[in-house]
Amino acid sequence: MYMKDKNCSPGPILVCAYGSLHCGRVANLVRRGLVLFTVGVFLALVLNLLQIQRNVTLFPEEVMTTLFSSAWWIPPCCGTGAAVVGLLYPCLDSHLGEPHKFKREWASVMRCIAVFVGINHASAKLDFDNNVQLSLTLAALSLGLWWTFDRSRSGFGLGITTAFLATVITQLLVYNGVYQYTSPDFLYVRSWLPCIFFSGGVTVGNIGRQLAMGGSEKPHMD
């Protein structure tokens, strides 16, 4: 249900080619990628759990085991997606020549992650009257997230692209029967998926930028 995979397939190749220019830079890139991957996997697990909670009131012990065995490939996919997006953001910034200077500090990044988790929490826990309302609320929240923590055109563009690609890929996967939503209500999932992907892209991009800037500092997240 929550996927952010393969949305930028040329990404890694580009990154590799770029990195081989300076072999020292590769280490840095790999480190950043690893951190982003971890963050992505972790967030995917947590948010997946949140979404499942929507449908399950209590977790009997048996549920947990079936849950993690079925679609094991989702968290790694999300991690990869997060790494790609998170590396693309600073890369894009430097290519466009407009370094991102807005609120560049870890405290702000943490706030951003918290708001992102909060949006997920809201989408999972709250009951909306209809899906349009859900969509509108989430869209407003995601835009608010972008405006509060990013405010850059490149960030917006990349976020939109991420959301679009990820949604399309998810839909394709579902249509082909590779994967199925946990919720039988198809429209429900479709109404929040793009917003979540958008805000996820912005958040991961924020982390990526901070990592690219901070260099040696390690994110105290998990």
């Binding site: 830079r25 009131t57 009997p60 549920v63 947990m64 918290a114 988790v117 709250l126 260099g215």
Partner: protein, 1224 residues
Amino acid sequence: MTLREQLREKISAAFYRHGLLCASYPVPIILFTSASILTCCYPLLRLPLPGTGPVEFTTGVRDYSVPSQEAQGDLGERPDWYHGPPVAYIQQVLVKAAVSPWDNNLVMVDVFRSPLGKVFSLLEEIRNHVHSDSSGIRSLESLCLQVTDLFPGLRRMQSVLPEHGCLLVSPGNYWQNQRDLFDSDPDLLKTIQKHEPKGLHTSATLRDLLFGVPGKYTGVSHYNRKRVVTYTITVVLSSYDASFLSSLRTRLKQLHPSANCSLRDDHMVHVHFKEEIGVAELIPLVTTYIILFAYIYFSTRKIDMVKSKWGLALAAVVTVLSSLLMSVGLCTLFGLTPTLNGGEIFPYLVVVIGLENVLVLTKSVVSTPVDLEVKLRIAQGLSNESWSIMKNMATELCIILIGYFTLVPAIQEFCLFAVVGLVSDFFLQMFFFTTVLSIDIRRMELADLNRRLPAEAGLPPPKPGPLRIREAPPPPRPSPHTITLQTPAFRNLRLPKRLRVVYFLARTRLAQRIIMAGTVIWIGILVYTDPAGIRTYLAAQVSEQSPLGDSGGGGLPPHLAVAPVFRGGDPTSTLSIHPAPDPTPLPENQSQGHHGSARGGSLPQAPPTGPQITWGAEDEEGWRRLSFRHWPSLFSYYNITLAKKYISILPVIPVTIHLSPQEAIDTRHPQDTRHPPPPIPKVSADLQTDLTLYKVAALGLAAGVLLVLLLFCLYRVLCPRNYGQNGVAHGRRRRGDLPCDDYGYSPPVSEISPLLLRGHSMDIECLASDGMLLASCCLAGQIRVWDAQTGDCLTVIPNSGCWEQRDLWDNISGNTESDCSCEPRDPSVGCDGTPEDKCCPLRRRSSPTRPPLFTDQPDLTPLIDTNFTSQPPCNLSTPPRGGFDFGGLVERAYMEHEPPSPSTYPSPSSSSVWAMELRGNLIAAGRSSGKLEVCLWDAVEGSLRCTNEDGVSGITALAFLNNRIVAARLNGSLDFFTVEMNKPLGLLQYRGAPGRGSMPPSPCYSSEDLISCQLTRSVQCAHQKPITVLRAAAGRVVTGSQDHTVRVYRLEDSCCLFTLQGHSGGITAIYIDQTMVLASGGQDGAICLWDVLTGSRVSHVYGHRGDVTSLVCTTSCVISSGLDDIICIWDRSTGIKLYSIQQEVGCGASLGVISESLLVTGGQGCVSFWDLNFGDLLQTVYLSPSGDGQGVRQLLVLDNAAIVCDFGSELSLVYVPSVLEKLD
């Protein structure tokens, strides 16, 4: 003036007044704020404690009606959750069955096989029961809770739990409610055991669910000595129909009369369940809390330049937390009951409210001029930030307002909380935090005052210190060459104070004890309020001991009359067939059974006696003995939550079944007799309970360890990063050597007294040192070599290094110079410069006064301008020879001063020294003429060993590393030289040994030693424009040029590794050290940090108005100074400016780092020592008695913790042992 500006001004003025108010009356305002916090939090007392079990409420059955949907005001003690229909009604049919009379022919399996078999007929009976009266015909089918689907993940349960239709649970479910399956089952126990989960389980097991009584009371085992089997049939009803239920009850009682049963059936119990949090729910919650902590950590880390950083951080957190509490309290006060899970939304509320305002306030107040009064500082700081604070608040309120119009109830509630929280947060910021801040700032001022007090007594009012100009008297100077600030006293006062708190905490283990006490209290409350806890036990004890006994139990509420845990434990723990007669007689409850004679019989005689079926008070509400998660887990299998809902439990229907032995034998399975029960009696049961106990204990231990680890991590995270180091430093001090106080702090034993090194006639232009030796070069081109330890002048090398010329000089100087140690042919070396007048024995003249050296030479001070970097690029257009040529100026001055005696004057071709480096015994000097000289120094001869005149352009910078010299020239070319000599450099080890002037050491280098300096490689166009800076370390040579680029070369093969672009002005400062940290500063005021390995830019900050004049890095920060005379300290990893120090005019560039946390800056006639971590001024040392104060332009930190600074024409050598003592 626009409306906006008017508004802005008004807001600013209001904040200013408010700041004044807060700073003027701190104590009343804090009291007022605390009072209002407490008042607002008062309603919170009514909220229940988290973590308690389900709550019960008992009503009578007779007049029961489904409570109405909305909560009516006050209906006696009716709890507020008791409204609306329950999720379900639970009707239990409690079956006690026994084979009686017991026959010795029977095997143990018979104890439960036929009684269990009875369940099918009972089920049939219940299912088919139909009650018809005037209102129609009702069957169970119409009343019961229809379940549709089992939870998808529960494949294992599918065969056992009903999947469709009525939720009717009984042991019969094990056999799909089919009698024939039961009959053909060879091993009943195995079937039952098959479904038990492995390992430790906390929630209700399937066995409990189906039997409806805890496993050990069922009697379904081989070791059932009572031979009574107990189980329940649980019927879950969705609606309540009194007449149907009563008819069912009568029917069952009629069929299976329980003669001796006097169970009360007039009370139904409503059980309300709290929000249940499982591990899965906890994971996201924990994540949000981790993020929250990270956020708080990263935010509070930014607080700086205050007296107590952690105090303020605590105040900030307290502000946010109490504003949240206030918000919840206020909302409850006005009748809005929180329906959201407080723990879940709390982190988001904190994040929404944020710590930003508090940090902004602190920053703003701290950045106000320090010389103002505290009140005014606070007021100014507040009014500076007023606009942004108001704007932020308005924006957030707008966003929340938008959220309010989403019309989603939960979001609306969140927004309501957030609005109230924001407003109360603003209130607290304005009153609480501002006041705390003012107190903090005032404490800092007091600390400063204290710091200055000791030195004040009886001293003339001195010149104000460089930075901390305040109403407090500026630092006095008791005598020349001594410390102004009495560090010992101050240190004693300040540092141990912080330590004292830590030590106090450590000694008393206060934190642990508080946590322990809190835990104990919490557990106590939990135990007390737990339904299965101590309270009921106590009540049961009371009721038991009361003379009314059990029959009087009716006087008490039923839920008090039962002691599920303790009473329930009794029957199994006693081994007797019949429980030993209770002191309180329960006559009605005793069975009138068939074998009354067995009463009181003990175990050995007992076997033939038949089982008795007794009905006790514990059977009345048998469900109490079950885990309190029994019902939630039963419902959760059907995805129905009981959280925050309630169920009603109807009184049980007792059913007693007696079976004859013949029936039991008839129902036997052929295999039953084949398995005699393996003789592992009761030990296993005991063992099992024991094992469970151990498991629980182990789990608890693990949890405790985890908690401790977590607390430890938290502590590490929240702990200041430097105080641990300080502690270690204290511990490391050699305690025997110095007198220490309790805290390991010893006041410094030595005072700082600068050594003045005199001898130069003109201002000093270049300084170089390798730790032991010190070389200086003045504008006149004279190079002097000093011993860095003692300050003795070892050698003088006159201008241009030609001895012939120097001879001429000697002649000019005549008698005045003959006594000077600068006599090159004289084997003795004098020490004429030290004020203490440590004279060498061979000194020829007895006069201790400073020899009037070079009195015949003009004063060239007005010509001094050593600042290359400030030279406008117009130099570039001039031919290289003329660029920085001071020689011409000097020459002219000489000409004017002393027109005659041209022959004695050094030839006009001699040029000034622009760059100098010192390594070992070798001095490399780069001259404006482009000539590179390598002089060998030893105590006797300051002889020129080697020159290289390959270049034509003036050498602007030199680097001397190992045996290589790199020279950067004005025309942008870079030359690499290699110094070769016959003797290995191992001789250099002697370089420290000489130096005491009296002992001329054996010459390390005889004059035959050949030293050659060869140009190995010349990079012609290293830069397009003149190279301004050159630094070498770690095998790299870094050059910075006017052409905005920095280049990195490898020293060995002079290969250009990187060209670093990023500055928008010429490079003016570069720092590189052994750890490959590269920083560069440019004319644009920008500072870039680079990764030398990859050539990538790590960070880029704009710090100065005008050029960056010097740069130093430590492991944690970058220190830069600029033409604007401000020293900025940056966090190296984040690039955030930590704080800045205002320098005196013209002294901006002089700074050095002694240790990781000690910074030295030069001022007008003084040097100041700063604590890098806090930005505190530690000491100021005045260099000259007169205090006329020429600015310190250059400053060099030597390896032995000495500082050399140029001071006009003198050098000053300052040792800083006392400061190092602390900060080392």
